[in-house]
């Protein structure tokens, strides 16, 4: 199921004008704070009303100004995962989870609610109260509560912001499963390149209330002119397959024929993975390097060199595994005589690829 959003509204001095449609999968709304991400999600949820435009999910019209359609929030069949979870503090985990489920007519209820509870690992928490849960547990309950309400579109507003890295790693796989296994589209607000790289099927970049780019994460996240968090967060995404786990704690992946070693990941051999490699973690060499600690060497051809105002340059290297970005200094570009068409080698330390940079898909 796809969805389509084309809305305009004004809030004080802030003007939002955003139009995009998104296919199946997870669509990330990516931008810095104040760019209008949450406003869009709230308009889809019916919590704020656009001045004009329309919002369609599948063949259901949630909002259409020209036809005077504006469904009430409760009739929109959406699931909303808030940044602060918003569990009902006076209800047990069980009653939180089934709050929306119980309001559904029988024919619309998920067939196996207990299965959703199991997948999220909430079985042991059912009789607890929200105050007795950790941040990660709260967010898992919030995901379960939204899914049990049988949404046709899932909204998530920075659901991982405010969680520490281990909690993020605990939650991320659930969003991957929702993206890969459920047929509902997800609209996911984030300002983190790592999250977007790992989760998004489509990225919509917002700036000042406008859509500045839309495309697959591989294209969007490698473009320093649109990555809202700046050049430090530019990176490339490689698709790879799990090969085997080594005894020394490393996992070997295969990216289109190039072996890549990363710190141990929990994935079965053959599983398809995507990994994000930050541009500033990549070193370039003009000949095959020897006698060094870095384990991953990817040969390629320089495709493009972009220099900004500072001392840095962003080099795109076409490798067998796909384009790889390296952020180096302009001085190094000159010293290595890098230019489009030249052969070069990209060097990536295994430990520079963090667990949150490796996801399924």
């Amino acid at each position: 199921m796809s969805f389509e959003i084309d809305i305009a509204l004004r809030q004080g001095a802030f003007q939002l004008e955003a139009a995009f449609s998104a296919p199946q999968g997870l669509t990330a709304l990516f931008g810095r704070s104040g760019s209008g991400k949450t406003t869009i999600v709230n308009a889809v949820a019916g919590l704020i009303r656009p001045e004009r435009g329309h919002i369609r999910v599948g063949d259901r019209i949630l909002y259409d100004a020209s036809r005077g359609v504006a469904l009430a929030t409760r009739r929109r069949r959406i699931g909303y995962i808030f940044q602060d979870a918003r569990l009902f503090p006076h209800l047990s985990v069980r009653r939180n989870l089934y709050y929306g489920y119980r309001l559904l007519p029988l024919r619309r209820r998920p067939a196996e609610p207990a299965h959703i509870v199991d997948i999220l690992g909430l079985g042991a928490l059912l009789d607890r109260f929200p105050a007795q849960l950790s941040g990660g547990e709260k967010q898992r309950v919030a995901i379960g509560r939204a899914l049990l309400a049988a949404p046709e579109l899932l909204l998530a507003d920075e659901p991982l912001t405010g969680l520490d890295t281990p909690r993020k790693l605990e939650i991320l796989p659930y969003f991957e499963r929702i993206r890969d296994e459920l047929k509902i589209p997800v609209l996911y607000v984030s300002h983190s390149s790592a999250e977007v790289a790992r989760l998004a099927t489509t990225v919509v970049v917002l700036d000042g209330g406008r859509v500045v780019q839309i495309g697959p994460p591989r294209d969007v996240l490698s473009d320093p002119s649109v990555v809202p968090t700046g050049v430090r967060n530019v990176g490339s995404i490689l698709h790879a397959r799990m090969v085997r786990h080594h005894a020394d704690g490393l996992s070997e992946l295969d990216a289109a024929g190039i072996p890549i070693l990363v710190p141990r990941v929990t994935a079965a051999s053959g599983a398809s993975l995507r990994l994000r490699i930050s541009a500033h973690e990549v070193i370039l060499a003009d000949r095959y390097p020897e006698g060094m600690s870095a384990l991953n060497i990817l040969p390629g051809t320089v495709a493009a060199i972009r220099s900004g105002e500072g001392p840095g340059a962003l080099v795109t290297l076409d490798t067998q595994a796909g384009p790889l970005l390296a952020r180096v200094t302009q001085r190094s570009v000159a010293a290595l005589q890098l230019a489009p068409g030249r052969q070069a080698f990209a060097i990536v330390k295994s430990v520079a690829i963090a667990p949150e940079d490796i996801g399924s898909g």
Binding site: A45, G46, L47, A72, T73, R74, R75, R76, R77, I78, G79, Y80, F82, D84, R86, F88, P89, H90, S92, Y99, G100, L103, L104, F129, P130, A131, Q132, R145, A146, A149, L155
Partner: protein, 234 residues
């Protein structure tokens, strides 16, 4: 103490029973109105909001005798409300129901203040979350807002009950001091103090009214503790 209790006359018992009845009815009947008024004041902005707020607080600011006199003007046999209610047998002037009305009105501002405060403390984000899960506005109110404001509801009800138990000025002005019909505890204490040798009975009633107030307070504490145990933030 035993001596004091055995020497309780029927007139005194009547006053105690009547007071509890008047205060309970006053509290129970005004509670739904208090909840509605407090919720409207806490959640909505509308023209005339300050006027409504002022009206609610009027009984707290005005001398109770004035409130009682205004009630008499309105609900007395010749008043605009009294003229309609009296022929129907529903007149309240000089009846215990009138005492309840006066007590309820005097306790209303206290109840609304306490409820409004707890409604304002309920995160509207939780209500929005309930709406995204498919809940209608009345259902959200019943399952989210009201339970979360419950400590304020208990506190407001206890305050209103205590106020009703102690109400004197408006009651005696509106429904007089008729033993067995409108003579509540404070009216009875006042009456006993007016007659020579009435001090004993007055002191007994004073002790009883202190006991009832303490019981009410204890009950609210116990309820509050139970709510905390079940996870509701206090």
């Amino acid at each position: 103490m035993a001596n004091m209790l055995t020497s309780f006359g029927p007139e005194e018992w009547n006053a105690v029973r009547l007071s509890v009845k008047v205060a309970l009815w006053a509290t129970l009947v005004s509670l739904p109105f208090g909840v509605a008024t407090a919720y409207v004041l806490a959640r909505f902005r509308f023209p005339g909001k300050q006027l409504l707020n002022g009206l609610v607080h009027l009984p707290l600011i005005m001398p109770p005798v004035v409130t009682g006199y205004l009630l008499l003007l309105g609900f007395g046999p010749t008043g605009p409300f009294g003229r309609v209610l009296e022929p129907l047998g529903m007149g309240v002037a000089f009846r215990w129901t009138g005492a309840s009305l006066a007590a309820g009105i005097m306790g209303f501002p206290l109840m609304v203040r306490s409820l409004r405060l707890s409604f304002e403390l309920v995160d509207p984000g939780l209500e929005r979350a309930a709406a995204t899960l498919g809940a209608s506005a009345p259902w959200i109110f019943l399952t989210v807002t009201l339970p979360l404001a419950f400590p304020g509801l208990i506190a407001g009800a206890i305050l209103a009950f205590a106020k009703a138990m102690g109400e004197f000025g408006a009651t005696i002005t509106f429904v007089a001091n008729i033993p067995g019909e409108t003579q509540t505890l404070p009216s009875a204490i006042y009456a006993f103090l007016q007659v020579p040798g009435g001090e004993g009975a007055a002191i007994r009633l004073v002790v009883v009214s202190i006991l009832i107030s303490f019981l009410a307070l204890l009950l609210s504490e116990l309820l509050g503790r139970r709510l905390r145990k079940t996870g509701t933030p206090s």
